[in-house]
Subunit: 580 residues, 2 copies
Amino acid sequence: MKKEEHLAHMRHSLAHLLGASVMELYPGSKLTLGPAIDNGFYYDIDVAGKITDSDLGKIEKKMHELLKTWHSFEKKIVSKEEAKKIFAGNEYKEELIDDIEKKGEDITLYTSGNFTDLCRGGHVEDPSKEIATGSFKLDRIAGAYWRGDEKNKMLTRIYGLAFNNKSELEAYIAQQEEAKKRDHRKIGKEMGLFVFSDLVGPGLPLWTPNGTIIRELLNDYVWELRKEKGYQKVCIPHITKKELYETSGHWAKYADDLFKIHTREDHLYAMKPMNCPHHTQIFASEPKSYRDMPKRYAETTMVYRDEQSGELSGLSRVLSITQDDAHVFCRENQIEDEALAIWDIIEKFYGTFGFDLQVRFSRHDPQTPEKYMGDEEVWIKAEKALENIMKSKKVEWIDGLGEAAFYGPKIDFIAHDSIGRVLQVATIQLDFNQPKNFGLVFTNEKGEKEGVVMIHAAIMGSIERFMSTLIEHLAGVFPTWLSPIQVAIIPVKDIHTEETDKIVRELKNADIRIDHFDYNDSLGKRIHSAKKMNTPYIIVYGDKEKESGVLTIEKIDGTKIQMKLDQLISHLKLEIKNRS
Amino acid sequence: MKKEEHLAHMRHSLAHLLGASVMELYPGSKLTLGPAIDNGFYYDIDVAGKITDSDLGKIEKKMHELLKTWHSFEKKIVSKEEAKKIFAGNEYKEELIDDIEKKGEDITLYTSGNFTDLCRGGHVEDPSKEIATGSFKLDRIAGAYWRGDEKNKMLTRIYGLAFNNKSELEAYIAQQEEAKKRDHRKIGKEMGLFVFSDLVGPGLPLWTPNGTIIRELLNDYVWELRKEKGYQKVCIPHITKKELYETSGHWAKYADDLFKIHTREDHLYAMKPMNCPHHTQIFASEPKSYRDMPKRYAETTMVYRDEQSGELSGLSRVLSITQDDAHVFCRENQIEDEALAIWDIIEKFYGTFGFDLQVRFSRHDPQTPEKYMGDEEVWIKAEKALENIMKSKKVEWIDGLGEAAFYGPKIDFIAHDSIGRVLQVATIQLDFNQPKNFGLVFTNEKGEKEGVVMIHAAIMGSIERFMSTLIEHLAGVFPTWLSPIQVAIIPVKDIHTEETDKIVRELKNADIRIDHFDYNDSLGKRIHSAKKMNTPYIIVYGDKEKESGVLTIEKIDGTKIQMKLDQLISHLKLEIKNRS
């Protein structure tokens, strides 16, 4: 058995243990469903009485007590009638039993210790031996409607964490605590990077001046890397007639996820959820010859998806998604060079922030052809091309069977952040299908029309999601080149502002972003304000500095350096230029 | 009588003359309506037979013939019955007679020469004396549905041009011909700056790489000017809950003009038709003190308006409008400085392109209070503030009574382009009303909450409209700094490409945008291609250049200069830097 599968079995077994413990402590409660999840398990229970977070210790104690007596899971297949007798009075289990019967499946019970539950299976063989004492922990309580339907009764959901062993559990808890401190919503608010407005609506961030500086600098950086590779900027509107998506194939697949607009003349338009179909229309607007190929169009622009409001969260999930999108229109024999050029950009970009990258080969699943557009042979050709590229890069890749886009296979890049979390970031997607739908061709050397291949390649992907990732990765401590405020200048007293004004002017002339804390407030408070913004360089200017002409500069890590102003400017310019 | 009124009377009299002439030449035709318009007049006629453009000479001749005999317009008020008798058999006039009667107005006839028409009046006293022979000209024929309704019969519309005298008419015709040559739709296509796609829809331009270069450079220039004045960039989404516009007051005024979105969760959203309400939410997101004022938010972003498709035209009227928008949130005593700073930017920006600017003071009309938001006294205060600013700039202004925005008065800038056309461009708008609706305040020196004033200030206004204006103003000959291609390099023969490759590299390193015509086509054709793009500098490189090391460079005006490559680079860099 694979390690992940064993862990899932442990977690599922623990859900049983949780159910059993609640039944002992709160007799008359009704158990409903208790699955394994990503970081542990939960059980949804119609509790006789009330369970709050303060009761979790007691329940956990009971779990440990029972665990010692659980040496196996005994399976038994029963008839509907037997099952209903056993769970008599528990309308939830009765409903589940009916459902299983309707599907024509076996009704199976599993017993461990004195506890029997309706269950499909998937447990460890000997819980008392295979589940280490310190490897699990009850986490928190939440409300959950029976079957997720708000018309049903609200149940008590008890969450537990579970890992292979105590140290893994502790590492996870530590990571969660660190993540909480780094939460981009919290840091974003403290640093004033973006805001939400009730009048505008959820999932629609408004970017403040400070947040916009970071967005633009990130975007400029991506563009700098792309420009070197011969990309050109284009610009498209955010809406289109639905005909564009009928042709591309998106309408059939994603019509429900689109924001739709009925115009005054009763046409049906959609807000764009992606940019590729629009970009094909720029490519197609003039006949192309082999001399024109490849064309590389880049555009940073917002796309819109009609998400459920319950799914929205900070910058990680929004309705207005800024993509740093690009599409390369090339010939088949140009795929490798173009994909490698994109790979270069991705490595350079993520390397700058110290992300470790892993590669996933997201290919189609031949078992579910209905999920994809186009012919099997085209898919095989496209996947072969990506495989060759990964081989030429000499990387090991994770296999992503069934993870392809509906129009083609992808190389996905997975980043590991500074607290060990794993996130999908950039992607290189190969697409033989949309060019075919749009009839994109060029005239080759022989004067014949030849089909075009598209490569979709976002670097940040979504600027919103990348910003949330970056803020948490850096805990809000941006490198100098990205900091909204690069230098804070704090005159000790009013009389020093004449000098600090001069310093401010010189730094501004050198295009350094500064904040001058020259107002009437205590020195301590002003230093605190500067530090709250994670300002990389803070200069407190008083009599000593005036006399010596040497500045004492406190860096973000607490170290202090002493420099004259012109030295500082050279130092900053170099640091900014190198993005170090 | 004012000169403009007299001209309108001449044009209206000419419509009569046109009607009379057609009736003589095409007896049995039915006249319908014949008004004066901006550049002349027209008459919509249900013609007995057929009139084509080739008949216009004949009709014009008849007009000259009749004109000599028209010495007055005799007015007569008649009863419905009399009128119906006179126009018996003309169902159009009969319908008009019924309409006049329904409104309870007098039915008036006007007779000149032998010709009588149903008419409200507004003629010259003596056509034969007041209308100069060469001052009018029949222009063209078009189809027009009776009363503009496509369910009705299609009539023949004959357009005529008419001005005060022959030289004015000739000047107008020359301007029109020049304008036709400069039509931005034609030049935009030739230079490949933007395209439309049937799949995307009308009024939704897609910007090609070349067009995007110009857009971005224009936008960067505006930003450069704004940055000097302390503006900060912000960034907002393109949609909002309708509550934002209910609060701002836009929903009540403009709900019909908005693209509306019903989300999957059945909320009502709108695409933004302007940015001010969103920007207020960034301002309002944190409490502000007098030390924070003013805040100057700038953002170039697309807004959307649900226009009728018949109104759309090239870049002049589009659905996706890119605004280089900015909003200053300031105190009352900062209005003047802020408005003057914007005025500086406008003068600098338009001066760069050689536009002459005029100023219009667009104020509210106290007679139609229903068109405006807020109290009369606030309007008077706001208008006084703008008046003071114009006085301090010592300019004469055109009075724009009733031309204010619904939330406040404006200073509108009117540009005169290189062929004498007049266009509204930038604007400075003062707004006391939206800040009130959104409750925007700051804490003043006394610790009290004080109301904020907003200044709306777009420089280009809409980039699309400005681009259409600029293309026509420059006839597509962009200055070097704006040219998508700044230098074209054309090797005479294949053997010269080794050298031209080197030149291309050096120019690229100097950040000059070049096009290398190094492919297999005749020298003449390649030079033609380079010229088609209005390339400011064209270098043909052959044996002579190789031997001498001196380049011969043909400038866009046809003059030739000789320079070494490094001299050329310095020359170009200076020209680009100075935007000259």
